[in-house]
Amino acid sequence: MNNVLGIVVLAEDESHIQELTEARIMGAIPFAGRYRLIDFILSNMVNSGLRSVAMLFGERSQSLLNHLSASKSWDLNSRKGGLIYWPFKNEIAIRKAKGSFLACLREHLQDLKDSPQEYILISNSNCIINLDFVKVFDFAEKKDADIILVYSKIDGKHAEARVSALTLDLSKDNKVIGVTEHINRLVTGNIYSEIIYIKKNILIEVIEYSEENELASVASLIRIISEGKYKTYGFKNTGYFAVIESLSCYYAESMKILGSEHFQEIFLSEDFPIFTKALNLAPALIKTGAIVNNSLISSGSRIEGVVEFSVLSRDVLVKKGAIVKDSIILSDCIIEEDAEVIGAIIDKNSVVMAKEKIIKSDNETFTYYTSVNYK
């Protein structure tokens, strides 16, 4: 797969997950204990044999860059290719375009032209996925396609509440014949996963010949390419797929991981390990008197209190008498003695004081808390 360049576009709409993106960009949000969102797409690309992945990102990238500096963790410390950084300058315009990767790529058109690969695989950074992209490449070859759009088929029973989504209209042989935009509603059908596989010369053509305003949304792009002369097909992903586009979605997906089958499917596939930055931390320590149930606990954490139905990142301390339930605790937090944390997302580096209570109210599914002032 040395002929495929991966591109991860970190320009998602963050307006519904602002609490967690104040200090970091979407891709750097911690997830499932020891991971960050970008680990999933990055690991999928590497596991599918890609040797070069370009990162498109704007401001607030410190957290992301610290994470990616361990490029070895994804085996992307290569002399040819490896991890490539393409920062974009015009952040405001790009953010307005709500995730359109074409606007960011326009800034790096020359880099794109100079890259040796003939095919491009583009994705956002906020999807939880375990898919062998080789299947997508094979499918493209079989169909002699110019462009492949990856989608998941969702029936009425499992309709997804989405902030923003596109569904694909497909012909009998899976050719893309139209696209529908959905905003803030339950969505069913062929939901586009925002992963596109495209011949590089066609991508360049589209960028060069499109007007600035036409690049404003992914929907308009898909209209251009599907109504035009390009052979565009949909590839159905039957495996796990989720997009983290809002804080409630983040909470729900985190809790879903605590279901055994989901955990198995995402993390325990022999051929598709999910990689993340390696840190030198001691194994988690569960002390005498601790009670731990149905929880993910990361290295460096020390637990003396109660932890149930929760996800703990690295280096979290839960002291004696503290209770943590239905919560997500990000790294380096301290839950002091006899504190109570129920149904909460506790952001990185926070301290919950002794006997303090952070409990969601009856009318919310969760509450967000940080004791750190990032401003």
Partner: protein, 405 residues
């Protein structure tokens, strides 16, 4: 890049007293403390002490050791200049031979030391568990203008006859040294950690090599000879946690030391981090209502049963109603439903099926043996459902090649 000191880690011994645990791999890569291999301590100490040129002398079953160390990146030893280098026995134009002893292992690798061209040579063992700043020991060596410095520690009187025992004068100079004495005169034991001024070391290695009566061992030959010939040999007193992992019981005890309240060896210390190679596994997952108490649990573990006072390495699975106590489960070990494991080592990737009982603590023979009541199940062993193992695991290790018991 000038090298002031190169470290030579002796990692070639067989470690036969660890029984089934070293059947297929060298002792330095035996799993320790849930996340580590024994050699992680000495490699991390080198890295943390600012030593970036490290030779690892290998001999016995080196495959796992070689692949574990790789280019040394896990310990920041993947340097543009020198870094870590594996040193196996080799053939020369006049033939080749195995390393005959610790001193001979260094003698045969003089060309490596020459290549790195240091002023001082630090000789270390790959099977010790401790945190030590070798830079401080080198300062001590230089301050005394010593020819050789031997790190030493006060040990219990009962254990003293296991070690090289020394006596120091007021300046810290060694005035008496006896290797494994039957009636020790002191309890100051050599830790098998030496700093030598290079030229002085070379002359003694050369002389020792041509002595047909020599066992070519640092403790037995080199250090006593240095003292006899009037060399300036000093003892560097160390007074923190240090364990020589020689036997099953010392390995078990050193692991259990980590579970004490405020353990002497603090793995959570951010000032002296012990690094290890990572596989990139998910956070450990405690799946259902179960009791877990006083345990160190590494990434990738999935636990449904109860675990008490134990250490679980990466990717260990414990099924429903299993009961683990006082045990060390090595990477990838799997414990079936309802199985009971007490005071045991479960080797890497061993499969313990449902309702197996592993407990030798009531078998007086095993309790009185050097296993001290510990059961050892070797790597990849497969214990079929319902089996009862109370013989220390000896039958299993004998049949291990069959992979089924």
């Amino acid at each position: 890049m000038k090298n002031e000191m190169v470290a030579m880690i002796l990692a070639g011994g067989q470690g036969s007293r660890l029984g089934a645990l070293t059947k297929n791999l060298a002792k330095p890569v035996v799993s320790f403390g849930g996340k580590y291999c024994i050699i992680d301590f000495v490699l991390s100490n080198c890295s943390n002490s600012g030593i970036s040129t490290v030779g690892v002398v290998t001999q016995y079953k080196p495959l796992a050791l070689n692949s574990y160390i790789g280019n040394g990146a896990a310990w920041d030893l993947d340097r543009s200049y020198y870094g870590v280098c594996l040193l196996p026995p080799y053939m020369g134009s006049e033939g080749g031979e195995w390393f005959k002893g610790t001193a001979n292992a260094i003698y045969q690798n003089i060309s490596y030391i020459d290549l790195c061209d240091p002023e001082y040579v630090l000789v270390l063992s790959g099977d010790h568990v401790y945190k030590m700043d070798y830079a401080k020991m080198l300062d001590f060596h230089k301050l005394n203008n010593a020819d050789a410095t031997v790190a030493c520690i006060e040990t219990s009187w009962e254990e003293a006859s296991r070690f090289g025992i020394m006596d120091l004068n007021d300046e810290g100079r060694i005035i008496d040294f006896e290797e494994k004495p039957i009636n020790p005169k002191s309890n100051l034991a050599s830790m098998g950690i030496y700093i030598f001024s290079k030229k002085y070391l070379y002359s003694h290695l050369e002389a020792d090599e041509h002595d047909p009566k020599s066992a070519h061992d640092f403790g037995k030959n080199i250090i006593p000879n240095m003292l006899h010939s009037g060399g300036k040999v000093f003892g560097y007193k160390f007074n923190s946690y240090w364990r020589d992992i020689g036997t099953i019981s010392s390995l078990w005890e050193a692991n259990m030391d980590l579970l004490k309240i405020d353990p002497e060896l603090d793995l959570f210390d951010k000032m002296w981090v012990i690094s290890s190679k990572k596989k990139g596994r998910p956070s450990m997952f405690i799946e259902q209502a179960t009791t877990i108490s006083n345990c160190l649990i590494d990434e990738g573990c999935r636990i449904k049963g109860s675990v008490d006072n134990s250490i679980l390495s990466v990717d260990v699975m414990v099924e429903n109603e299993a009961k683990i106590t006082n045990s060390i489960l090595m990477p990838g070990a799997r414990i079936g439903k309802g199985a009971v494991v007490n005071k045991a080592f479960i080797g890497p990737n061993a499969i313990i099926e449902d309702n197996v009982v592993i407990d030798s603590t009531k078998n007086q023979k095993v309790v009185d043996s050097d296993y001290c009541g510990i059961t050892v199940i070797g790597d990849n062993a497969h214990i079929v459902a319902g089996a009862i193992i109370d013989d220390g695991g000896r039958a299993v290790s004998l049949l291990n090649s069959l992979r089924r018991v």
